[in-house]
């Protein structure tokens, strides 16, 4: 509102024509020719620059998928690496179009910050890592343990909640940055390391003897991570939402970037609708009808995106777990395209 007011005020002063002060996001994006995507400043598997300086990761690939749907070109996206502090400000000020930065979907963020979560790209949860030689098999045996964690995160609060709920005592050893936390744990300053389970997989790589440590089975918090857009543009919200659903549906239907051209000839009506040879679903969002085809061609389906960035063949080696499709025991569920 402030922005609108100041725009109008200045426009009045300078006699500018304030045409379309709030043009539709999709039109804005199309006219500037790229998507501005907020990612994290570095999180293994989610957004991190590779040796050539290209951003890679699950969060990054999702933005590329949106770019592919709009422009048929996954490179038409620019990344703004954001810290946890300023990610929402950047979105609210219009500095970025999508925030795809391992952001947990919570009621506060969804309702009071003027934001919309479009879906869940990764179901995460807080877990514990401990040395094997401590002979602990469950988080419920951790009473009296010293726990290394990062300050000022929800991790610390989840930890307190969990131990209090189970009547256990613990000692927190907190550090400002993740790197310090790992070094402290590796040096034996605490018994347990806690953070999101995807984070644990990344931290494990930095340990002196990764095989001496296990991740306990308990998940003590729900951390559904997903892309975020700002309030006020439902069309843009729809597009970002359905890009993920298209990728999930593609995996479910067995359509991948490798077999795309065979599948395009398939008689299966669901595949036809996904790839745009039947129906006018793309146009309904202001895109072309082959929007689904474009996403799969350039970025791939959800499984491809997952395996490329965090899957078993990457150093992170994260099993699908809760991120498997709904019909394979997981939670990922693509709404039907029809």
């Amino acid at each position: 509102m402030k922005r609108l007011l100041s725009t109008l005020a200045l426009a009045g002063v300078f006699g500018l024509s304030a045409a379309g002060a709030q043009a539709a996001k999709l039109d804005q994006v199309k006219s500037k020719g790229f998507i501005q995507c907020g990612v994290s400043q570095g999180l293994p598997g989610f957004s991190t620059p590779d040796d050539k300086g290209n951003w890679t990761g699950l969060d990054v690939d999702f933005c590329r998928a949106v770019a592919a749907a709009i422009f048929d070109d996954p490179t038409k996206v620019k990344f703004t690496p954001l810290s946890a502090k300023d990610r929402f400000t950047a979105l609210q000020s219009g500095d970025i179009d999508i925030l795809s930065r391992n952001t947990t979907w919570t009621i506060t963020r969804d309702t009071s910050l003027g934001l919309n979560f479009t879906g869940v790209t990764y179901y995460d949860g807080q877990g514990f890592m401990i040395r094997k030689d401590k002979k602990v098999n469950s988080a419920l045996e951790l009473s009296g343990a010293s726990v290394c964690t990062q300050t000022g995160t929800t991790t610390e609060q989840n930890l307190a909640d969990y131990f209090r709920a189970n009547n256990m005592t613990y000692e927190v050893i907190a550090f400002a940055t993740n790197d310090e936390v790992v070094k402290a744990y590796d040096a034996g300053r605490c018994d347990v390391l806690t953070t999101d389970r995807s984070g644990l997989a990344g931290e494990r790589l930095k340990l002196t003897n990764p095989d001496d440590h296990i991740v306990l089975p308990e998940v003590i918090s729900k951390e559904p991570l997903g892309p975020v857009v700002s309030h006020g543009d439902d069309q843009w919200f729809d597009i970002v939402k359905w890009v993920l659903f298209a990728q999930l549906n593609a995996e479910e239907l067995g359509v991948s970037s490798k077999n795309l051209d065979e599948q395009a000839k398939s008689a299966n009506p669901e595949i036809k609708r996904l790839l745009g040879s039947e129906g006018k679903f793309g146009e309904g969002m202001g895109l072309t009808n082959d929007w689904g085809y474009r996403i799969i061609k350039h970025v791939g389906n959800y499984a491809e995106m997952y395996d490329r960035n965090v899957g078993p063949d990457t150093p992170l080696k994260l099993a699908r777990g809760t991120n498997a499709l709904w019909n394979k025991g997981g939670l990922q569920y693509g709404m039907p395209i029809r």
């Binding site: 402030k2 922005r3 100041s6 725009t7 200045l10 426009a11 300078f14 006699g15 500018l16 002060a21 400043q41 570095g42 999180l43 293994p44 598997g45 991190t48 620059p49 590779d50 040796d51 050539k52 300086g53 620019k78 703004t80 690496p81 954001l82 810290s83 502090k85 300023d86 400000t89 950047a90 000020s93 219009g94 500095d95 790197d179 070094k183 590796d186 990344g202 790589l205 930095k206 340990l207 002196t208 003897n209 990457t314 150093p315 992170l316």
Partner: protein, 456 residues
């Protein structure tokens, strides 16, 4: 009566050659006695120092050189237990540390900027090389313009100056030559002409129509030349500042901050000591405001809050916003350093200068400032060094300087290993040390040359 001179009296003609000092006072032994073991306290301190060296140096050498890994393609190379520094990590990320996300095929432009900067700066710093005036003009005048064109690609697409906002020249909207829009320049010339005329009118009221008009016209001429150069399409691929990073950003911010903060600081310091109440008040407000807020707040405000207040179209570049913030922030500190120097100049110098009939600006330029600035060289260099290291704070506004690029590289799972962190920080430490130590040594050299310590 005659005096017989005893010819045999011995009078020595030359001085006796002094005996050599006792052996324990010369050579290595003597030096050590004098400098290392002259008292019990010094002996203890020496032993303590030796202990530190023995404790620190061997592990450091072992980590950085002897046990270090020198070749490899990914983290596997650095995983063996007991390995030292993982240099292939630095090698793989070296381009990013220097250039950030600058497109790889365009990095030659950054190299030219670096080389040009060094070629102009080095002769400027060595007193025995002549042509200082020309050299300074090139470094402070031409170099920033050329560097801007090379780094960003130029072709700033200047489209609307003043009257175009009111719909003038809209018929020429599409006309352009080599990326230069005709309408903009017609507008520019018209505005320049009008403002110069206005200046002449005001000047006439003040009694010097021609002088004022000339000043106004030359300001427009300077602005016009710079804008024109930046506006021409040289065919360079545009590279947004968002893609800059690494040492490039550190140097751009550091050098810009250093170069702009000193003159600004001098002006502010003079303003604060001025006898004109409004000027003094404004300078005090400015200095105290910028000294009163942390740099992080300044950067955050400039980056995320400013767009909320500006109209939708007017969105200055992110790096530019950070640059302005850093420059103003440092200028406030610089002003106080310079003011310290000004206050140290005895009153007699001012009175002497005034007695000779010098104007205020002559007095400042010829008598006061040269003395005041040489007095505060340590303070100025202190500010420069701290500015250079503070540039790292731009990471919080999503600009990846050298250290930011390093931290991003730590998160690459392909290079995650127990030693990656130490290697990266060791490398960063070495790079920062080279720059800061260089600055401090040079300032000591300048001080010795100007002999500011009033030793006799």
């Amino acid at each position: 009566m005659t005096f017989a001179i005893d010819d045999h009296t011995f009078v020595r003609q030359e001085l006796h050659t002094p005996l050599p000092p006792p052996r324990r006072n010369i050579g290595v032994l003597g030096w050590m006695r004098e400098n290392l073991f002259s008292s019990i306290l010094n002996t203890l301190l020496t032993l303590f120092g030796l202990l530190l060296v023995v404790l620190i140096l061997p592990p450091l050498v072992r980590f950085l050189i002897l046990d270090a890994v020198w070749t490899g393609d990914n983290r596997e190379a650095c995983l063996a237990p007991g390995t030292g520094a993982c240099w292939p990590f630095v090698k793989a990320k070296f381009g990013q540390f220097i250039y950030g996300f600058y497109p790889i095929d365009q990095r030659w432009r950054v190299n030219i900027v670096f080389a040009l900067g060094a070629a102009l700066l080095v002769p400027l710093l060595i007193p025995s090389i002549g042509q200082k005036r020309l050299n300074a003009l090139l470094f402070f005048g031409a170099y920033p313009i050329v560097a801007f064109i090379l780094l960003t690609g130029g072709n700033i697409d200047a489209s609307a100056f003043l009257f175009q906002h009111f719909g003038l020249f809209s018929g020429l909207a599409g006309a352009s030559v080599a990326g230069v829009k005709l309408a903009f320049w017609l507008d520019f010339l018209l505005t320049a002409g009008l403002v110069t005329g206005l200046g002449a009118v005001i000047g006439a009221a003040l009694g010097d129509a021609r002088g004022v008009a000339r000043i106004v016209a030359s300001v427009f001429l300077g602005l016009g030349i710079i804008t024109l150069l930046w506006d021409i399409d040289f065919g360079l691929q545009p590279v947004e500042t968002r893609q800059w990073g690494g040492l490039l950003v550190t140097l751009v911010i550091g050098v810009t901050g250093i170069v702009t903060s000193l003159p600004l600081g001098i002006l502010l310091a003079l303003g604060r000591r001025s006898k004109m109440p409004i000027v003094r008040l404004l300078c005090i407000i400015f200095i105290e405001f910028w000294r009163g807020v942390p740099l992080i707040t300044v950067l955050f405000f400039a980056t995320y809050m400013l767009p909320l207040f500006l109209p939708a179209g007017a969105n200055p570049d992110g790096l530019l916003r950070a640059l302005v913030g850093v420059a103003l922030f440092t200028a406030a500190y610089m002003a106080e350093v310079v003011r310290g120097g000004l206050q140290a100049i005895p009153k007699g110098q001012y009175e002497g200068a005034m007695a000779m009939g010098l104007t205020w600006s002559q007095m400042m330029r010829l008598i006061i400032l040269p003395q005041a600035l040489t007095l505060v060289i340590p303070g100025i260099v202190n500010s420069f060094i701290s500015l250079f290291k503070d540039t790292t704070l731009v990471l919080i506004v999503s600009i990846f300087d050298f250290l930011g690029q390093l931290r991003a590289a730590f998160t690459d799972p392909n290079w995650a290993s127990p030693v990656t962190l130490y290697t990266g920080f060791a490398f960063a430490g070495i790079v920062y040390f080279i720059f800061c130590f260089g600055m401090s040594r040079y300032s000591m050299f300048v001080e010795r040359r100007l002999n500011t310590s009033h030793r006799h």
